[in-house]
């Protein structure tokens, strides 16, 4: 037989306990009827309306009669064929205790339906998320506007092919690459290394088989990425601030800044 789910068993047990407690109370309240609770007190204890109780009682009496009749029929039919017992039993529309219906099985959710997602705590995007986004956008706009009012973007002299500035620097985000050029062959520094780094970056989710997103469980991945990011950051910083004429190493507080955004 299918196992009855725990919460249903619990509910049934609670109902039984409640009924028992109520019965005790009723007994205590009416000590005179201790031996046999009167129909009135029973009716008062249960929430079933009296006319339904009456009807059920009548039905029980009626079925008791038919059961006796069916039993007699079964006994009579038992002699000719054994299979007749089953048919006779099925013909009677009653279960044990005179109930007209009974619990055949309980289908637990999850046995037929495939429940994949647990319910999650959610909030409405409006206003909770949109307000945050709006304030963030406003803050960035304000910052950019005020910064642009006070700091002008650089515009040097007209481009001149005959006047190479010293030093000549790439845009700041490529200065790490330019820094590598001082150490390696141009093909390695300018193409192979950055290409390799880019491909590794793209493949990261396919190389990292660790399913956890907890920092303490992915120390290797986090260390590797931090080293990688620091590598480029340091190179960009050196290229931006510590490289002077001839792309030689200088200290900005001694030789001045050779850097334009």
């Amino acid at each position: 037989m299918t196992e009855i789910p725990e919460h249903l068993l619990k509910r049934a047990q609670e109902a039984r306990d409640r009924a028992a407690a109520k019965g005790d109370n009723a007994d205590a309240a009416t000590p005179a009827a201790a031996s046999e609770p009167s129909p009135a007190s029973a009716a008062a204890a249960s929430k079933i309306p009296p006319h339904l109780l009456e009807r059920a009682k009548a039905a029980r009496e009626r079925t008791a009669g038919t059961e006796v009749a069916a039993m007699a029929g079964a006994v009579a039919a038992a002699a000719p064929a054994g299979g007749a017992v089953a048919t006779a039993g099925a013909a009677a529309p009653t279960g044990p205790g005179g109930h007209t219906q009974r619990l055949l099985t309980v289908v637990k959710s999850g046995s037929i339906q495939d429940v994949k997602s647990a319910p999650v705590d959610k909030v409405h995007v409006w206003p909770h998320l949109l307000v945050v986004e709006f304030v963030a956008a406003l803050a960035v706009t304000a910052f950019l506007l005020i910064f642009s009012i006070f700091v002008n973007a650089p515009l040097l002299e007209l481009a001149d092919f005959n006047a190479t500035p010293n030093p000549s620097k790439a845009p700041w985000y490529f200065l790490g690459l330019q820094e590598l050029l001082t150490m390696f062959h141009p093909m390695v520094a300018g193409v192979t290394l950055p290409g390799f780094a880019l491909i590794l970056l793209i493949l990261a989710p396919y190389l990292d088989k660790n399913p956890s997103n907890k920092p303490e469980k992915r120390k290797f991945a986090i260390s590797l990425m931090t080293i990688h990011l620091m590598f480029w950051t340091v190179l960009v910083m050196i290229g931006s601030f510590f490289r002077g004429p001839g792309f030689n190493f200088v200290f900005p507080w001694e030789a001045g800044l050779f850097f334009e955004l």
């Binding site: 999650v120 959610k122 909030v123 409405h124 995007v125 409006w126 206003p127 909770h128 998320l129 949109l130 945050v132 986004e133 963030a136 956008a137 960035v140 950019l144 506007l145 910064f147 642009s148 009012i149 700091v151 973007a153 650089p154 515009l155 040097l156 002299e157 007209l158 481009a159 001149d160 092919f161 500035p165 000549s168 620097k169 790439a170 845009p171 700041w172 985000y173 490529f174 050029l181 141009p186 520094a189 300018g190 193409v191 192979t192 880019l198 970056l201 793209i202 990261a204 989710p205 990292d208 660790n210 956890s212 997103n213 907890k214 920092p215 992915r218 991945a221 986090i222 990425m225 955004l261």
Partner: protein
């Protein structure tokens, strides 16, 4: 006998009647969809909160509801959203700049000087475009770092990470192509250094450089080429990849986490 001026109450009544009539009109209701705060009888109910998102072409990038932790600023630091917002800001300021700029070697620099000195708000908008571009490179980079440290690229979001790396590359290319356009010494030599590096691509390095420069050296053809790349082609490609990126965020079950 002069007609008596209407009392304050009468004026108030007339105004509120007019507002009522306007809000009930067919035209009004055809413009403002259900959930709009301009609708008659708008109130703050879960139904209207959903309608606000569903009935707005911009907001429905978002789902109606998100995980509670997803609205925490400390988790995302708004970096992805701000990158997108900076892209919009750069598009708007860039369109403004396009009105005053000709991508030829003889006119570009003069147009830049005119823009700075003679165009109303020209200097300010140019500053915003330049600083905004640097800020966008920074915010896209930080967004990538944030996503990595949260392990947000893991299944089922692997492919969206790949799209993200492509978007980072596109951002760098957008910034780099824009670098040449002022046609000053800074632009010319920074781009010279940058494209020289690309010339070292193995096997077909010279071809790559030739196609990028539109010749063997930087010149007017390079300027036109990079202008078209900067104002049309790269933004076009970026918008396509951004669309896929945002769509995948939703298809992959919203943002990752919590940790």
């Amino acid at each position: 006998m002069a007609p008596t001026p209407p009392s304050a109450d009468q004026v108030k009544q007339a105004v509120s009647d007019l507002a009522d009539k306007t809000q009930s009109s067919q035209a009004w209701n055809s413009i403002f969809r259900p959930g709009s705060i301009f609708r008659k009888g708008y109130n703050d109910s879960p139904r209207n909160r959903s309608y606000v998102i569903m009935n707005s072409v911009l907001y429905h990038l978002h789902p109606v509801k998100v995980k509670r932790h997803a609205v925490k600023v400390s988790y995302t630091l708004c970096l992805g959203g701000l990158s997108f917002f900076l892209f919009i800001l750069l598009t708007v300021t860039g369109i403004f700049l396009m009105f005053f700029y000709r991508p030829t070697a003889s006119a570009a620099y003069a147009d830049m000087e005119t823009l700075r000195s003679a165009v109303t708000f020209g200097l300010l908008v140019r500053n915003m475009h330049r600083w905004g571009a640097h800020l966008m490179v920074l915010s896209v980079f930080l967004h990538m770092a944030r996503v990595f440290y949260h392990g947000a690229y893991k299944s089922p979001r692997e492919f969206n990470w790949v799209i993200g790396v492509i978007l980072l590359t596109l951002t760098l290319l957008l910034s780099f192509t824009g670098y040449l356009l002022p046609w000053d010494q800074l632009a010319l030599w920074a781009v010279t250094v940058g494209t020289n590096m690309m010339g070292f691509t193995p096997v077909f390095g010279n071809e790559v450089r030739f196609v990028l420069l539109g010749g063997v050296e930087i010149g007017s053809d390079t300027l036109l080429r990079w202008y078209v790349l900067h104002v049309l082609m790269l933004p076009f490609v970026t918008v396509i990849f951004m669309a896929i990126h945002f769509w995948r965020v939703r298809k992959d079950g919203g943002i990752s986490g919590p940790l």
